[in-house]
């Protein structure tokens, strides 16, 4: 029984979850192995409904935990076909062991991560704790700021991950609830156009090719483990960025929608800049425009590719900036934030004289308001005017009680 195509309007009103589910449908996944968790559940619910309505051919395996979900994805991917799933937060944490196994086994699985805080205390709302937990796992990590981007980046992810020169899994992140449950206009591709962008799955070392038996998931000790890990890192550092750029260019040609590893807004003549991810980018852009009306040359940098970290692109984007704020939506728990550290590393040894400060915000879904960002830009400008950092290097924004600041 062949599956049916779905007629889409040019612009549909979809939330981030449904946009991701539609992208998975259009990519014609062979196996989805999944377990539900708020706020990502509607992605796999949407997928299973497509299956129930004959808009998909393939297997949907509803397993008993997120660890099993990714385990099933790994087995399915090693067998030789297109594989995807979705999760959030605790489910992501339970998957962590298998995330490293998937990437080390070089299996191009796509994982939609609807970002949510990590317990304790238990919390269902969006922050980037889960995304940060995955940052050393050897996966490609793309960050969507809106339902449109959650849709688009899935196609980019499959195209890059499944490339035989890459063969690495990829995560597509979106903010829990703020993106996943907020309906917006999404420009769609028709089914044939969308599928043509990712193309047919081309198996490699597939277990279902019985003429060429293959052993997946071997043991290596001090003799070979290092080389495997080093080569995986090498491919992330040297091959993946090029493939991502190529995919972005091809996608722009197809749809007119342009993506960059580092997204820049009002950065051409900016003195002060905020670097952030997810839905905060849009808020920061709005506030930056308002700051410009007040005479502060404010800009925004959004990180689109979290891993591999676009070290050079970040350095280039911030080259002439006088004061930079790195906004981390995950508690560093005893260190500077990830973005603060990565940006510091990217700018160190360059000619940049930028004053860099770090801000932690929005944990467990706490709002980042325009007032927060207005105050923040004002602090950055004050640093510029004084020629030095006047505040602590790490501040917590929007937390109740006495102001929390460190370093």
């Amino acid at each position: 029984m062949a599956f049916d195509k779905m007629e889409l309007r040019d612009i549909e009103v979809w939330d981030g979850n449904f946009a991701a589910a539609q992208a998975l449908r259009q990519c014609q996944i062979d196996v989805v192995s999944a377990y539900p968790i708020t706020p990502s559940t509607p992605i796999v619910e949407g997928y299973s409904k497509f299956l129930a309505d004959n808009y998909i051919e393939g297997e949907f395996v509803m397993v008993e935990s997120e660890h099993a979900a990714m385990s099933g994805c790994i087995g399915a991917s090693a067998a030789g076909g297109r594989v995807a799933t979705a999760t959030s937060s605790q489910g992501f944490a339970l998957m962590v062991e298998t995330l490293y196994q998937a990437s080390g086994m070089r299996l191009p699985i796509i994982l939609n991560v609807v970002n949510r805080a990590l317990a304790a205390p238990l919390n269902v709302n969006g922050d980037h704790g889960d995304m940060y937990l995955g940052r050393d796992s050897g996966w490609i990590q793309l960050d969507a700021y809106s339902p449109q981007e959650a849709y688009d980046l899935n196609f980019i992810a499959f195209r890059v991950a499944e490339d035989h020169e890459i063969r690495l899994p990829a995560m597509v992140h979106q903010d829990g609830f703020m993106t996943s449950h907020t309906a917006q206009g999404v420009h769609t591709m028709d089914d044939d156009t969308a599928y043509s962008f990712v193309g047919d799955f081309k198996p490699m070392n597939d277990m279902l090719d019985f003429e060429h038996p293959v052993t997946h998931g071997v043991q290596t000790e001090e003799d070979w483990h290092y080389e495997h890990k080093a080569r995986q890192h090498n491919d992330l550092m040297t091959k993946v960025p090029t493939k991502i750029e190529e995919a972005f260019a091809a996608f722009e040609k197809l749809t007119g929608r342009k993506y960059n590893q580092v997204e820049k807004y009002d950065m051409d003549d900016a003195d002060v800049a905020v670097v952030c991810m997810g839905t905060s980018v849009e808020t920061a852009r709005e506030v930056a425009s308002e700051m410009r009306e007040k005479g502060i040359k404010a800009g925004v940098v959004g990180l689109r590719v979290v891993r591999p970290f676009p070290f050079m692109e970040i350095a280039a984007a911030l080259k002439d900036i006088k004061a930079i704020a790195a906004l981390d939506r995950s508690s560093p728990n005893g260190a500077a934030g990830m973005l603060f550290n990565e940006i510091a590393g990217a700018l160190f040894n360059t000619d940049s004289k930028a004053l860099l400060t770090g801000y932690v915000y929005g944990l467990g879904g706490r709002d980042l308001t325009k007032k927060h960002l207005t105050d923040l830009y004002t602090e950055l400008q004050a640093n510029v005017d004084a020629g030095k950092v006047l505040t602590p290097l790490q501040q917590f924004i929007g937390v109740r009680g006495p102001k929390l600041a460190f370093l």
């Binding site: 062979d30 008993e64 090693a78 076909g81 277990m207 279902l208 019985f210 998931g217 043991q219």
Partner: protein, 318 residues
């Protein structure tokens, strides 16, 4: 269509197509390789195999070598079952979509795991696979101990065994808990076939593996695998220990069809006292001290009771 392999005698069986190579790092006298070979040799069909982390895995796939001349995957300690379930799902998907490279084949999906991987850490994953009805076989290589990590107790370790985390000592007789009845638990998922097998009874084993591969749905096999290193016996005595396990009825051979129909498949002509099984292994040595001899009697009573229970279930046909 699946071809039922005909096997005439042990010599033919032992030289039958080797998809598991003799070149591996398992201990001399390890029963794992014997069991794996017996399972694989029961069919001529293509195989998709998985192993959970454990002795079998670390001894057969050390890069850049492999002992497997068949598709094989290892992910982690707990998820060998789900690895094969995922592959089986992909097989179904590609069959539906007409994308199988060799569409005329009839592959079998088999996962191996030790008792640690199966009774303990991977228990939930196996349960999930059995419940979901994947067309797969899960085989436990049951050596009643975490052998790969050096002899810690698992929930398969029997009462009185000396294990490194339940050591016998001045005031301890070793493991204090009874062995988990995993076959009954898995059969309770109402799967089409569950069975206990032993490598010494190879005809019984082949019959069961072939039955398991012929049925549609999940199959669970528990295979006793005497461990020369942790049970502490001479490597040349592996088959003798297996004979003792089956003929003392410590490890009875039976099958459970559709979750309820129990058939005893091997009735020893001469039932050997359990004491002889215990005496043959260093792990039970301390039970022969005066202070613990009562445990040997309890062992015999437990084995007798279990045998009576299995017989009652077989008679009742429920």
């Amino acid at each position: 269509m699946s071809e039922m392999k005909k096997i005439k005698n042990l010599k033919e069986f032992s030289t039958s197509a080797d998809r598991f190579e003799g070149a591996n790092l398992l201990c001399p006298g390890c029963a794992h390789s014997i069991i794996v070979r017996e399972v694989l040799n029961a069919t001529n069909d293509d195989l998709v195999l998985a192993a959970s982390t454990g002795c079998l895995e670390v001894c057969t796939a050390v890069y850049p070598y492999t002992s497997w001349d068949a598709s094989w995957v290892h992910i982690g300690f707990e998820n060998g079952s789900t690895a094969v379930a995922g592959a089986e799902a992909m097989y179904k998907a590609l069959k539906t979509k007409g994308r199988l490279k060799q569409p005329d084949r009839n592959p079998k999906f088999v996962a191996f795991g030790g008792d640690g991987a199966s009774y303990d850490i991977g228990f939930q994953w196996i349960s999930g696979c059995m419940e979901r009805g994947h067309n797969m076989m899960y085989v436990v290589l049951d050596n009643e101990v975490y052998a790969n990590t050096g002899g810690q107790r698992s929930s398969s370790t029997p009462i009185g065994a000396n294990a490194t985390t339940s050591p016998a000592g001045r005031v301890s007789y070793g493991e204090t808990k009874n062995k988990k009845d995993i076959v009954a638990i898995m059969a309770a998922h109402n799967i089409p076939y569950a069975a206990q097998v032993a490598p010494n009874k190879w005809k019984d084993m082949v019959k069961k593996i072939q039955h398991g591969m012929a049925v549609d749905g999940p199959v669970f096999i528990n295979a006793v695998s005497p461990c020369t290193t942790e049970w502490k016996f001479d490597p040349k005595d592996t088959m003798h220990l297996t004979d003792l396990a089956t003929d003392t009825l410590v490890f009875p051979l039976y099958e459970i069809i559709d979750g309820h129909e129990l058939n005893i498949t091997y009735r020893p002509k001469n039932v050997i006292p359990v004491e002889e099984y215990l005496a043959a292994q260093g792990r039970f040595k301390h039970l022969f001290k005066d202070q613990y001899k009562y445990l040997i009697k309890e062992w015999q009573e437990r084995v007798d009771a279990n045998w009576a229970y299995l017989n009652r279930r077989e008679e009742a046909r429920v």
